[in-house]
Symmetry: C2
Protein backbone atom coordinates (compact mmCIF):
# COMPACT_ATOMS: atom_id res chain seq x y z
CA UNK A 1 0.00 0.00 0.00
CA UNK A 2 1.56 3.15 1.25
CA UNK A 3 4.71 1.33 2.34
CA UNK A 4 7.65 2.67 0.46
CA UNK A 5 10.91 1.03 1.30
CA UNK A 6 13.39 3.42 2.64
CA UNK A 7 16.51 1.34 3.00
CA UNK A 8 16.81 2.52 6.58
CA UNK A 9 15.45 4.79 9.31
CA UNK A 10 11.79 3.78 8.91
CA UNK A 11 10.33 2.63 12.24
CA UNK A 12 8.20 -0.04 10.56
CA UNK A 13 10.98 -2.55 10.15
CA UNK A 14 11.49 -4.23 6.76
CA UNK A 15 9.36 -7.25 7.63
CA UNK A 16 12.27 -9.58 8.05
CA UNK A 17 13.61 -7.51 10.89
CA UNK A 18 10.38 -8.02 12.78
CA UNK A 19 10.73 -11.77 12.56
CA UNK A 20 14.34 -11.53 13.57
CA UNK A 21 13.47 -9.44 16.62
CA UNK A 22 10.60 -11.74 17.53
CA UNK A 23 12.85 -14.79 17.48
CA UNK A 24 15.55 -13.02 19.49
CA UNK A 25 13.11 -11.80 22.13
CA UNK A 26 11.56 -15.23 22.47
CA UNK A 27 14.94 -16.89 22.75
CA UNK A 28 16.22 -14.52 25.43
CA UNK A 29 13.02 -14.95 27.44
CA UNK A 30 13.24 -18.73 27.31
CA UNK A 31 16.97 -18.69 28.10
CA UNK A 32 16.22 -16.60 31.15
CA UNK A 33 13.29 -18.77 32.23
CA UNK A 34 14.80 -22.21 31.70
CA UNK A 35 18.52 -21.77 31.17
CA UNK A 36 20.53 -22.08 27.99
CA UNK A 37 20.93 -25.83 27.78
CA UNK A 38 17.32 -26.63 28.61
CA UNK A 39 16.04 -24.29 25.94
CA UNK A 40 15.80 -26.08 22.60
CA UNK A 41 15.73 -24.46 19.21
CA UNK A 42 12.43 -26.23 18.62
CA UNK A 43 10.95 -24.63 21.72
CA UNK A 44 12.15 -21.20 20.65
CA UNK A 45 10.66 -21.64 17.20
CA UNK A 46 7.37 -22.97 18.54
CA UNK A 47 7.03 -20.17 21.10
CA UNK A 48 7.81 -17.58 18.48
CA UNK A 49 5.32 -19.17 16.12
CA UNK A 50 7.83 -19.86 13.37
CA UNK A 51 9.61 -22.93 12.06
CA UNK A 52 12.99 -24.18 13.21
CA UNK A 53 14.51 -23.47 9.85
CA UNK A 54 13.36 -19.89 10.03
CA UNK A 55 15.34 -19.31 13.20
CA UNK A 56 18.40 -20.55 11.33
CA UNK A 57 17.63 -18.18 8.48
CA UNK A 58 18.29 -15.27 10.84
CA UNK A 59 20.81 -16.75 13.26
CA UNK A 60 23.71 -18.96 12.25
CA UNK A 61 23.54 -21.04 15.40
CA UNK A 62 22.09 -21.23 18.87
CA UNK A 63 25.20 -19.52 20.17
CA UNK A 64 24.68 -16.57 17.88
CA UNK A 65 21.36 -15.94 19.60
CA UNK A 66 23.27 -15.30 22.79
CA UNK A 67 25.18 -12.41 21.27
CA UNK A 68 21.98 -10.38 21.54
CA UNK A 69 21.83 -11.11 25.22
CA UNK A 70 25.44 -10.11 25.63
CA UNK A 71 24.86 -6.81 23.84
CA UNK A 72 21.96 -6.04 26.16
CA UNK A 73 24.07 -6.60 29.26
CA UNK A 74 26.77 -4.31 27.90
CA UNK A 75 24.19 -1.58 27.36
CA UNK A 76 22.75 -1.97 30.85
CA UNK A 77 26.23 -1.84 32.33
CA UNK A 78 27.22 1.29 30.50
CA UNK A 79 24.03 2.94 31.66
CA UNK A 80 24.50 1.88 35.27
CA UNK A 81 28.02 3.17 35.36
CA UNK A 82 27.55 6.61 33.84
CA UNK A 83 26.81 8.64 37.02
CA UNK A 84 29.79 7.19 38.85
CA UNK A 85 32.17 7.93 36.01
CA UNK A 86 30.87 11.49 35.87
CA UNK A 87 31.44 12.24 39.54
CA UNK A 88 34.04 10.02 41.19
CA UNK A 89 37.66 11.13 40.69
CA UNK A 90 39.58 8.40 42.57
CA UNK A 91 40.87 5.63 40.34
CA UNK A 92 40.33 2.75 42.77
CA UNK A 93 36.75 3.82 43.43
CA UNK A 94 36.04 4.17 39.74
CA UNK A 95 37.40 0.73 38.93
CA UNK A 96 35.61 -0.82 41.88
CA UNK A 97 32.36 0.89 40.96
CA UNK A 98 32.52 -0.27 37.37
CA UNK A 99 33.20 -3.85 38.39
CA UNK A 100 30.54 -3.90 41.10
CA UNK A 101 28.04 -2.49 38.64
CA UNK A 102 28.85 -5.29 36.27
CA UNK A 103 28.24 -7.81 39.02
CA UNK A 104 24.88 -6.25 39.85
CA UNK A 105 23.76 -6.10 36.26
CA UNK A 106 24.80 -9.69 35.65
CA UNK A 107 23.54 -11.17 38.90
CA UNK A 108 20.04 -12.13 37.68
CA UNK A 109 21.60 -14.07 34.84
CA UNK A 110 24.37 -15.76 36.77
CA UNK A 111 23.22 -19.32 36.17
CA UNK A 112 22.33 -18.75 32.57
CA UNK A 113 25.47 -16.75 31.88
CA UNK A 114 27.70 -19.42 33.36
CA UNK A 115 26.30 -21.86 30.84
CA UNK A 116 27.54 -19.93 27.85
CA UNK A 117 30.54 -18.05 29.23
CA UNK A 118 32.35 -21.32 28.89
CA UNK A 119 32.67 -20.28 25.27
CA UNK A 120 35.04 -17.62 26.49
CA UNK A 121 37.85 -20.14 26.45
CA UNK A 122 36.90 -21.69 23.13
CA UNK A 123 38.93 -20.00 20.42
CA UNK A 124 36.57 -21.33 17.78
CA UNK A 125 33.44 -19.86 19.27
CA UNK A 126 32.09 -16.56 17.94
CA UNK A 127 31.17 -15.79 21.53
CA UNK A 128 34.77 -15.80 22.71
CA UNK A 129 35.70 -12.30 23.86
CA UNK A 130 38.81 -12.66 21.71
CA UNK A 131 36.97 -13.53 18.51
CA UNK A 132 36.55 -11.19 15.56
CA UNK A 133 32.81 -11.22 16.03
CA UNK A 134 33.26 -9.93 19.56
CA UNK A 135 35.58 -7.10 18.65
CA UNK A 136 32.85 -4.43 18.95
CA UNK A 137 31.98 -5.59 22.45
CA UNK A 138 35.66 -5.93 23.27
CA UNK A 139 36.45 -2.44 22.05
CA UNK A 140 33.54 -1.09 24.05
CA UNK A 141 34.83 -2.81 27.17
CA UNK A 142 38.34 -1.50 26.64
CA UNK A 143 36.89 1.94 25.99
CA UNK A 144 35.05 1.80 29.28
CA UNK A 145 38.28 1.03 31.08
CA UNK A 146 39.95 3.90 29.27
CA UNK A 147 37.36 6.29 30.64
CA UNK A 148 37.84 4.78 34.09
CA UNK A 149 41.49 5.72 33.80
CA UNK A 150 41.19 9.08 32.01
CA UNK A 151 38.58 10.48 34.38
CA UNK A 152 40.70 9.65 37.37
CA UNK A 153 43.44 11.54 39.13
CA UNK A 154 45.77 8.54 39.09
CA UNK A 155 49.38 9.08 38.16
CA UNK A 156 50.78 6.25 36.12
CA UNK A 157 53.97 5.65 34.20
CA UNK A 158 53.04 7.14 30.80
CA UNK A 159 54.45 4.09 29.06
CA UNK A 160 52.03 1.90 30.97
CA UNK A 161 49.18 4.36 30.68
CA UNK A 162 48.72 3.62 27.01
CA UNK A 163 48.21 -0.12 27.46
CA UNK A 164 46.45 0.05 30.79
CA UNK A 165 42.89 0.00 29.43
CA UNK A 166 43.55 -3.29 27.70
CA UNK A 167 45.18 -4.70 30.81
CA UNK A 168 42.25 -3.61 32.94
CA UNK A 169 39.89 -5.24 30.49
CA UNK A 170 41.89 -8.45 30.89
CA UNK A 171 41.52 -8.03 34.64
CA UNK A 172 37.78 -7.83 34.08
CA UNK A 173 37.83 -11.01 31.99
CA UNK A 174 39.66 -12.77 34.80
CA UNK A 175 37.05 -11.60 37.28
CA UNK A 176 34.32 -12.83 34.97
CA UNK A 177 36.01 -16.23 34.79
CA UNK A 178 36.10 -16.33 38.57
CA UNK A 179 32.47 -15.19 38.74
CA UNK A 180 31.42 -17.99 36.44
CA UNK A 181 32.87 -20.50 38.89
CA UNK A 182 31.57 -18.64 41.94
CA UNK A 183 28.86 -20.65 43.68
CA UNK A 184 28.55 -18.42 46.75
CA UNK A 185 25.33 -16.65 47.67
CA UNK A 186 24.73 -13.82 45.21
CA UNK A 187 28.34 -14.19 44.07
CA UNK A 188 29.52 -12.64 47.32
CA UNK A 189 33.00 -14.06 46.84
CA UNK A 190 33.45 -12.29 43.54
CA UNK A 191 32.21 -9.13 45.21
CA UNK A 192 34.88 -9.47 47.86
CA UNK A 193 37.52 -10.24 45.26
CA UNK A 194 36.71 -7.01 43.46
CA UNK A 195 36.41 -4.87 46.57
CA UNK A 196 39.79 -5.96 47.85
CA UNK A 197 41.70 -6.35 44.60
CA UNK A 198 40.93 -2.95 43.13
CA UNK A 199 42.85 -1.06 45.87
CA UNK A 200 45.76 -3.43 45.29
CA UNK A 201 45.74 -2.61 41.61
CA UNK A 202 45.63 1.09 42.38
CA UNK A 203 48.58 0.71 44.70
CA UNK A 204 50.52 -1.25 42.11
CA UNK A 205 49.91 1.52 39.61
CA UNK A 206 51.36 4.08 42.00
CA UNK A 207 54.39 1.90 42.46
CA UNK A 208 54.77 1.29 38.73
CA UNK A 209 56.35 4.73 38.33
CA UNK A 210 58.75 4.20 41.23
CA UNK A 211 62.46 4.06 40.52
CA UNK A 212 62.76 0.45 41.70
CA UNK A 213 59.80 -0.65 39.69
CA UNK A 214 59.99 1.25 36.50
CA UNK A 215 62.38 -1.19 34.76
CA UNK A 216 60.08 -4.07 35.65
CA UNK A 217 57.06 -2.11 34.47
CA UNK A 218 58.76 -1.30 31.22
CA UNK A 219 59.73 -4.86 30.59
CA UNK A 220 56.23 -6.09 31.35
CA UNK A 221 54.65 -3.55 29.04
CA UNK A 222 57.12 -4.35 26.30
CA UNK A 223 56.32 -8.04 26.60
CA UNK A 224 52.61 -7.29 26.48
CA UNK A 225 53.12 -5.34 23.26
CA UNK A 226 55.41 -7.86 21.60
CA UNK A 227 52.91 -10.61 22.17
CA UNK A 228 50.51 -8.68 20.01
CA UNK A 229 47.09 -8.97 21.34
CA UNK A 230 44.38 -10.53 19.29
CA UNK A 231 46.49 -10.48 16.17
CA UNK A 232 46.10 -13.89 14.67
CA UNK A 233 49.61 -14.86 13.57
Amino acid sequence: MCRVDQPATTPSAPKGEQTRALILETALRLFQENGYDRTTMRAIAKDAGVSVGNAYYYFESKEHLVQGFYDRMVALHREAVAPLLASEPKFAARLDGVMQAWLEVSEPYHEFAAQFFKNAADPASPLSPFSDESSPARDAGIGLMRSVLLGSTAKVDPELREDLPELLWLYQMAVVLFWVHDKSEKAAKTGMLVRRSTPLIARLLQLSATRVFRPLTREGVQLFRDIGWFTSK
Copy 2:
Protein backbone atom coordinates in the same frame (compact mmCIF):
# COMPACT_ATOMS: atom_id res chain seq x y z
CA MET B 1 43.65 -71.88 27.51
CA CYS B 2 45.93 -71.62 30.47
CA ARG B 3 44.46 -68.29 31.65
CA VAL B 4 43.69 -68.39 35.35
CA ASP B 5 42.18 -65.25 36.79
CA GLN B 6 44.04 -63.77 39.65
CA PRO B 7 41.83 -60.93 40.82
CA ALA B 8 44.73 -58.50 40.69
CA THR B 9 48.43 -58.02 39.98
CA THR B 10 48.38 -60.38 37.00
CA PRO B 11 49.40 -58.68 33.77
CA SER B 12 46.43 -60.29 32.08
CA ALA B 13 43.88 -57.76 33.28
CA PRO B 14 40.47 -58.87 34.70
CA LYS B 15 38.72 -59.03 31.33
CA GLY B 16 36.68 -55.86 31.81
CA GLU B 17 39.84 -53.83 32.19
CA GLN B 18 41.01 -55.07 28.83
CA THR B 19 37.90 -53.76 27.15
CA ARG B 20 38.22 -50.49 28.98
CA ALA B 21 41.83 -50.09 27.88
CA LEU B 22 40.99 -51.06 24.32
CA ILE B 23 38.28 -48.43 24.10
CA LEU B 24 40.51 -45.77 25.62
CA GLU B 25 43.42 -46.53 23.29
CA THR B 26 41.17 -46.48 20.26
CA ALA B 27 39.59 -43.22 21.31
CA LEU B 28 42.90 -41.47 21.90
CA ARG B 29 44.24 -42.66 18.58
CA LEU B 30 41.20 -41.40 16.70
CA PHE B 31 41.20 -38.11 18.60
CA GLN B 32 44.80 -37.61 17.59
CA GLU B 33 44.17 -38.59 13.97
CA ASN B 34 40.96 -36.68 13.32
CA GLY B 35 40.47 -34.24 16.16
CA TYR B 36 38.01 -34.36 19.03
CA ASP B 37 34.90 -33.02 17.33
CA ARG B 38 35.29 -35.07 14.17
CA THR B 39 35.65 -38.31 16.13
CA THR B 40 32.24 -39.81 16.87
CA MET B 41 31.42 -42.26 19.61
CA ARG B 42 30.12 -44.59 16.92
CA ALA B 43 33.48 -44.48 15.15
CA ILE B 44 35.33 -45.21 18.37
CA ALA B 45 33.09 -48.16 19.13
CA LYS B 46 33.31 -49.53 15.61
CA ASP B 47 37.10 -49.21 15.49
CA ALA B 48 37.41 -50.89 18.86
CA GLY B 49 35.06 -53.65 17.76
CA VAL B 50 32.49 -53.04 20.49
CA SER B 51 29.06 -51.48 20.65
CA VAL B 52 28.34 -47.84 21.44
CA GLY B 53 26.63 -48.78 24.67
CA ASN B 54 29.70 -50.66 25.79
CA ALA B 55 31.81 -47.53 25.56
CA TYR B 56 29.29 -45.83 27.83
CA TYR B 57 29.48 -48.73 30.24
CA TYR B 58 33.11 -47.82 30.92
CA PHE B 59 33.10 -44.06 30.33
CA GLU B 60 30.37 -41.73 31.48
CA SER B 61 30.70 -39.49 28.48
CA LYS B 62 32.86 -38.57 25.53
CA GLU B 63 34.55 -35.96 27.68
CA HIS B 64 35.52 -38.54 30.26
CA LEU B 65 37.52 -40.32 27.58
CA VAL B 66 39.69 -37.27 27.32
CA GLN B 67 40.73 -37.52 30.95
CA GLY B 68 42.90 -40.45 29.93
CA PHE B 69 44.63 -38.30 27.40
CA TYR B 70 45.14 -35.59 29.96
CA ASP B 71 46.67 -38.07 32.42
CA ARG B 72 49.09 -39.23 29.77
CA MET B 73 50.30 -35.70 29.08
CA VAL B 74 50.83 -35.10 32.78
CA ALA B 75 52.96 -38.25 32.99
CA LEU B 76 55.04 -37.27 29.97
CA HIS B 77 55.56 -33.81 31.38
CA ARG B 78 56.67 -35.08 34.76
CA GLU B 79 59.13 -37.38 33.05
CA ALA B 80 60.51 -34.68 30.78
CA VAL B 81 61.05 -32.32 33.67
CA ALA B 82 62.81 -34.61 36.13
CA PRO B 83 66.45 -34.03 35.07
CA LEU B 84 66.07 -30.27 35.14
CA LEU B 85 64.49 -30.27 38.58
CA ALA B 86 67.33 -32.46 39.84
CA SER B 87 70.14 -30.20 38.63
CA GLU B 88 69.08 -26.59 38.11
CA PRO B 89 69.11 -24.44 41.28
CA LYS B 90 67.91 -21.06 39.93
CA PHE B 91 64.19 -20.46 40.39
CA ALA B 92 63.58 -18.61 37.13
CA ALA B 93 65.34 -21.31 35.12
CA ARG B 94 63.39 -24.04 36.88
CA LEU B 95 60.05 -22.38 36.24
CA ASP B 96 60.95 -21.60 32.64
CA GLY B 97 62.17 -25.15 32.07
CA VAL B 98 59.00 -26.67 33.46
CA MET B 99 56.80 -24.46 31.34
CA GLN B 100 58.84 -24.96 28.17
CA ALA B 101 58.74 -28.70 28.73
CA TRP B 102 54.98 -28.52 28.97
CA LEU B 103 54.85 -26.66 25.68
CA GLU B 104 57.05 -29.25 23.99
CA VAL B 105 55.08 -32.19 25.33
CA SER B 106 51.79 -30.60 24.30
CA GLU B 107 52.86 -29.28 20.93
CA PRO B 108 51.87 -32.34 18.87
CA TYR B 109 48.37 -32.15 20.29
CA HIS B 110 47.87 -28.41 20.02
CA GLU B 111 44.92 -28.53 17.66
CA PHE B 112 43.24 -31.41 19.39
CA ALA B 113 43.91 -30.00 22.83
CA ALA B 114 42.44 -26.64 21.92
CA GLN B 115 39.20 -28.38 21.08
CA PHE B 116 38.65 -29.68 24.55
CA PHE B 117 40.51 -27.19 26.70
CA LYS B 118 37.52 -24.97 26.18
CA ASN B 119 36.00 -27.09 28.91
CA ALA B 120 38.49 -25.46 31.22
CA ALA B 121 36.18 -22.51 31.60
CA ASP B 122 33.02 -24.58 31.96
CA PRO B 123 32.36 -25.06 35.67
CA ALA B 124 30.01 -27.93 34.91
CA SER B 125 32.54 -29.97 32.95
CA PRO B 126 34.44 -32.77 34.69
CA LEU B 127 37.40 -31.69 32.59
CA SER B 128 37.58 -28.29 34.18
CA PRO B 129 40.86 -28.02 36.09
CA PHE B 130 38.80 -26.71 39.00
CA SER B 131 36.41 -29.66 39.10
CA ASP B 132 36.40 -32.37 41.75
CA GLU B 133 37.22 -34.96 39.13
CA SER B 134 40.35 -33.04 38.22
CA SER B 135 41.61 -32.67 41.76
CA PRO B 136 44.24 -35.43 41.38
CA ALA B 137 45.67 -33.78 38.27
CA ARG B 138 45.39 -30.39 39.94
CA ASP B 139 47.19 -31.58 43.05
CA ALA B 140 49.90 -33.11 40.89
CA GLY B 141 50.33 -29.83 39.05
CA ILE B 142 50.51 -27.84 42.25
CA GLY B 143 52.96 -30.39 43.65
CA LEU B 144 55.17 -29.93 40.62
CA MET B 145 55.22 -26.20 41.22
CA ARG B 146 56.07 -26.83 44.86
CA SER B 147 59.14 -28.79 43.85
CA VAL B 148 60.06 -26.02 41.42
CA LEU B 149 60.06 -23.69 44.39
CA LEU B 150 61.57 -25.97 47.04
CA GLY B 151 64.49 -27.08 44.92
CA SER B 152 65.44 -23.52 44.15
CA THR B 153 67.58 -21.03 46.00
CA ALA B 154 64.93 -18.34 45.78
CA LYS B 155 64.23 -16.27 48.87
CA VAL B 156 60.58 -15.46 49.25
CA ASP B 157 58.47 -13.89 51.95
CA PRO B 158 57.63 -16.96 54.05
CA GLU B 159 53.99 -15.91 54.17
CA LEU B 160 53.84 -15.99 50.39
CA ARG B 161 55.96 -19.12 50.13
CA GLU B 162 53.16 -21.30 51.42
CA ASP B 163 50.65 -20.25 48.76
CA LEU B 164 53.12 -19.79 45.96
CA PRO B 165 52.75 -23.27 44.43
CA GLU B 166 49.03 -22.70 43.93
CA LEU B 167 49.68 -19.27 42.49
CA LEU B 168 52.28 -20.66 40.10
CA TRP B 169 49.82 -23.32 39.04
CA LEU B 170 47.32 -20.57 38.28
CA TYR B 171 50.05 -18.88 36.23
CA GLN B 172 50.38 -22.12 34.32
CA MET B 173 46.64 -22.26 33.71
CA ALA B 174 46.78 -18.72 32.34
CA VAL B 175 49.61 -19.70 30.02
CA VAL B 176 47.59 -22.70 28.86
CA LEU B 177 44.63 -20.45 28.13
CA PHE B 178 46.92 -18.22 26.07
CA TRP B 179 48.40 -21.26 24.35
CA VAL B 180 44.97 -22.48 23.35
CA HIS B 181 44.38 -19.21 21.54
CA ASP B 182 47.91 -19.07 20.12
CA LYS B 183 47.83 -19.54 16.35
CA SER B 184 51.50 -18.75 15.73
CA GLU B 185 53.91 -21.25 14.20
CA LYS B 186 54.64 -23.98 16.75
CA ALA B 187 53.11 -21.76 19.42
CA ALA B 188 56.15 -19.51 19.27
CA LYS B 189 54.28 -16.65 20.90
CA THR B 190 53.51 -18.72 23.97
CA GLY B 191 57.15 -19.73 24.08
CA MET B 192 58.17 -16.10 24.11
CA LEU B 193 55.58 -15.28 26.73
CA VAL B 194 57.05 -17.93 29.02
CA ARG B 195 60.68 -17.08 28.32
CA ARG B 196 60.16 -13.44 29.16
CA SER B 197 57.55 -13.67 31.89
CA THR B 198 59.35 -16.17 34.11
CA PRO B 199 62.24 -13.75 34.90
CA LEU B 200 59.64 -11.09 35.71
CA ILE B 201 57.97 -13.43 38.15
CA ALA B 202 61.30 -14.25 39.75
CA ARG B 203 62.04 -10.57 40.12
CA LEU B 204 58.62 -9.92 41.64
CA LEU B 205 59.28 -12.65 44.17
CA GLN B 206 62.52 -11.02 45.21
CA LEU B 207 60.69 -7.76 45.65
CA SER B 208 57.85 -9.36 47.58
CA ALA B 209 60.01 -9.48 50.70
CA THR B 210 61.06 -5.82 50.34
CA ARG B 211 59.97 -3.36 52.98
CA VAL B 212 57.92 -1.33 50.48
CA PHE B 213 56.25 -4.37 49.10
CA ARG B 214 55.67 -6.60 52.01
CA PRO B 215 52.38 -4.99 53.06
CA LEU B 216 51.07 -5.34 49.55
CA THR B 217 52.25 -8.92 49.38
CA ARG B 218 50.59 -9.71 52.68
CA GLU B 219 47.33 -8.18 51.62
CA GLY B 220 47.36 -10.06 48.34
CA VAL B 221 48.10 -13.37 50.01
CA GLN B 222 45.39 -12.76 52.59
CA LEU B 223 42.87 -12.04 49.85
CA PHE B 224 43.91 -15.18 48.04
CA ARG B 225 43.31 -17.22 51.18
CA ASP B 226 40.02 -15.59 52.10
CA ILE B 227 38.64 -16.30 48.69
CA GLY B 228 39.04 -19.96 49.45
CA TRP B 229 40.19 -21.75 46.42
CA PHE B 230 38.11 -24.49 44.93
CA THR B 231 35.86 -24.65 47.97
CA SER B 232 32.37 -24.74 46.62
CA LYS B 233 30.50 -22.32 48.88
